[in-house]
């Protein structure tokens, strides 16, 4: 149990460090940039005709207060942390006066749902295919499916999504290409609504699955083909253990450990792919929210979404770290 406590302590330290550095980085980027967000917002609001200079000055002050941009750099930094902890990023400028936090909170479940589902499918399928391809090296079907997922893997999510969108939205229009669910349906646990959720999520999820499969396939295949030559596997083969048992208990189980670590390491990247996919399919998650915020010059919204995504990814990584000891007995026992 001692080993587990030590492991947990280390992961917890890493977790807080990621959040600390990530939030500080977000603060630094916004503060060291040559562009003043207040002036930018003022310019955005006053470029539709002449505005009274006095009211411009008032607006400037109000915005500075709103964004917490008063006082020295250190004051601002501490104030920013206060806002992060309270979960208060001020009102959104493009959806005034809705608070940024409530916009994010209504978008977050969509992203979490889409990402969790597609990630579980990708990871399971990629590892299964990769492990089989590494174990049965001469199987033609596995070779061909491997070549297909590997060829797709370097292509960015946007291009794959765009091709799917053209294929299933224009050439053979059978799937909806925009939104998270049918507009005229009441959200709830009805069959119609659930079906609409699944149909709308199919293309975004498929995009993320196609983008992700290749890397799991490649690394699992090379892990398995190395483990197959290990002494304990050769010994089991000589001892007459059935090949199914060897595959699942002797080979795949060992190879899954680094793949679980890989899952934690890849989350940051996967999240980026989801941002783009959501925007492309107009999926109502945080990715679309952020890109819309950029187009509309909504400072509070963009900063809020960035900060929350950094924290959300760190939490997800930490959850995977907590699962790891369940699979790897060495962490539990040492």
């Amino acid at each position: 149990m001692d080993g587990f406590a030590k492991y947990l302590g280390r992961r917890l330290f890493q977790f807080f460090l990621v959040i600390f550095l990530g939030v500080s980085l977000a603060f630094l980027i916004t503060n060291l940039s040559p562009v003043d967000p207040v002036e930018q917002s003022v310019a955005l609001m006053t470029n539709f005709g002449a505005t009274d200079p006095r009211s411009v000055e008032l607006m400037r002050q109000a915005l500075q207060e709103l964004y917490g941009l008063q006082g020295s750099m250190l004051d601002q930094y501490l104030a920013f942390w206060g806002r992060v902890i309270r979960g208060d990023f001020g009102p959104s400028l493009s959806a005034f006066p809705t608070p940024v936090m409530s916009l994010i909170m209504s978008a977050l479940p969509w992203t979490i749902g889409l990402l969790t589902l597609s990630l579980v499918i990708t990871w399971t399928l990629g590892n299964l295919l990769g492990a089989l391809a590494g174990y049965y090296r001469s199987n033609l079907l596995l070779k061909f499916s491997g070549a297909a997922v590997m060829a797709l893997h370097p292509v960015p999510a946007y291009i794959i999504g765009l091709c799917l969108l053209l294929a299933f939205g224009f050439i053979w229009p059978i799937l909806p290409i925009s939104g998270g669910a049918q507009m005229n349906l009441q959200p709830g646990l009805t069959l119609d609504y659930l079906r609409s959720l699944i149909v709308h999520g199919t293309l975004p999820a498929l995009t993320l699955v196609l983008v992700g499969l290749g890397s799991w396939f490649i690394s699992m295949r090379s892990l398995v083909s190395n483990i197959v030559t290990d002494d304990h596997v050769v010994y089991a083969e000589l001892g007459g253990v059935s090949s199914n048992t060897i595959f699942s208990q002797y080979v795949a189980r060992n190879a899954l450990l680094p793949q679980l670590t890989g899952l934690a390491l890849s989350l940051g990247n996967v999240f980026g792919g989801a941002v783009i996919t959501e925007f492309l399919f107009n999926y109502p998650g945080v990715g679309r929210l952020m890109i819309q915020g950029i187009y509309r010059g909504d400072y509070a919204l963009v900063l809020g979404v960035t900060t929350i995504s950094i924290i959300a990814v760190a939490v997800a990584v930490f959850i995977i770290d907590l699962i790891y000891p369940l699979i790897d007995p060495r962490v539990r026992l040492s």
Binding site: L25, T30, P154, F271, V313
Partner: protein, 285 residues
């Protein structure tokens, strides 16, 4: 060097296909120096012309030749990718080798920083940088930002190679002979790390090009400078899919997919060449 290249072209089909694909796309991109019109000029040609003998890939709604636009676009996209790759390699090598060789507290501190960077989501941070820079955003700034975010996976790989070199005999000889740490790292260890650097560079190049395409598709870069993502951005702005100007979208997508395929085939065959175990299994051992 040339002998290796010849052997790989002869015996490794993946390498041969990847090499030919990448080389032809590179030559096509190189051709933009001889383009008849400047690549930033708009409305000089009749807009929306379908592919024909005069305009092989048609023209855009902005009155540009798709063929020549693509030529400059691929050049700019590749230039961006290579800049990111070189910059991030420097960082990855420095951090990875120092961490692996020095060990102890240095190793712990550098790798903690490394793992922290890995857990940060790149795209939101890049978007935030673009958002606060806006019009002062140029491609070198974007490339530098991407390089700062793109070294951490590979630093870990390079560290593990250096870690294994650290306790080898020749390292101890070098230390007793009075070589300084930078000398040992550059003269003794770098040759062993080189294959890893080369392999990770290929993957990093693919990642960087993908990043460029993603950001410029959204219009988050210098939109007047032709890039592959930028072409798709303008096509979307002009509703090219709905208007039926398919050639404006289809040809850039085909070009970028071919480029990715070529680079990827090169990357995996180079990796296979570096790792003798997989070379043996290919020969049937």
């Amino acid at each position: 060097m040339f002998k290796i290249l010849r052997d790989m072209l002869r015996y490794n089909v993946e390498f041969a296909i990847g090499f030919v694909l990448t080389l032809s796309i590179f030559l096509f991109a190189l051709a933009h120096f001889w383009a008849p019109l400047p690549d930033t000029a708009i409305y000089l040609l009749p807009p929306d012309m379908p592919p024909s003998a005069q305009y092989w890939f048609g023209t855009t709604s902005r009155g540009q030749d798709v063929l020549w636009q693509m030529s400059s676009a691929i050049w700019n996209t590749m230039l961006f990718g290579l800049t990111v790759t070189v910059l991030s390699r420097l960082l990855a090598v420095a951090v990875g080798m120092l961490s692996g060789y020095l060990g102890g507290r240095w190793d712990q501190a550098l790798m903690t920083l490394n793992d922290t960077m890995i857990a940060l989501p790149n795209i939101p941070i890049l978007l935030l940088v673009y958002f606060v820079m806006r019009d002062s955003m140029s491609w070198p700034v974007l490339a530098a930002t991407a390089a700062l975010l793109g070294w951490n996976y590979d630093a870990r790989l390079i560290r593990s190679v250096t870690l294994s070199l650290r306790n080898r005999e020749f390292t101890r000889h070098a230390v007793f002979a009075g070589m300084s740490v930078p000398q040992i790292l550059v003269r003794q260890h770098l040759p062993y790390v080189m294959p890893v650097i080369f392999f990770t560079a290929m993957n990093n190049l693919i990642w960087a090009i993908g990043l460029e395409v993603t950001l410029s598709v959204l219009g988050f870069s210098d939109i007047n400078r032709p890039t592959i993502g930028g072409m798709i951005y303008w096509a979307n702005q002009h509703q090219a899919i709905i208007a039926g100007i398919w050639w404006w979208i289809a040809f850039p997508i085909i070009a970028i997919v071919l480029l990715f395929l070529g680079l990827f085939l090169l990357a995996i065959s180079v990796n296979e060449y570096i790792d003798p175990r997989s070379r043996l299994s290919r020969m049937g051992a």
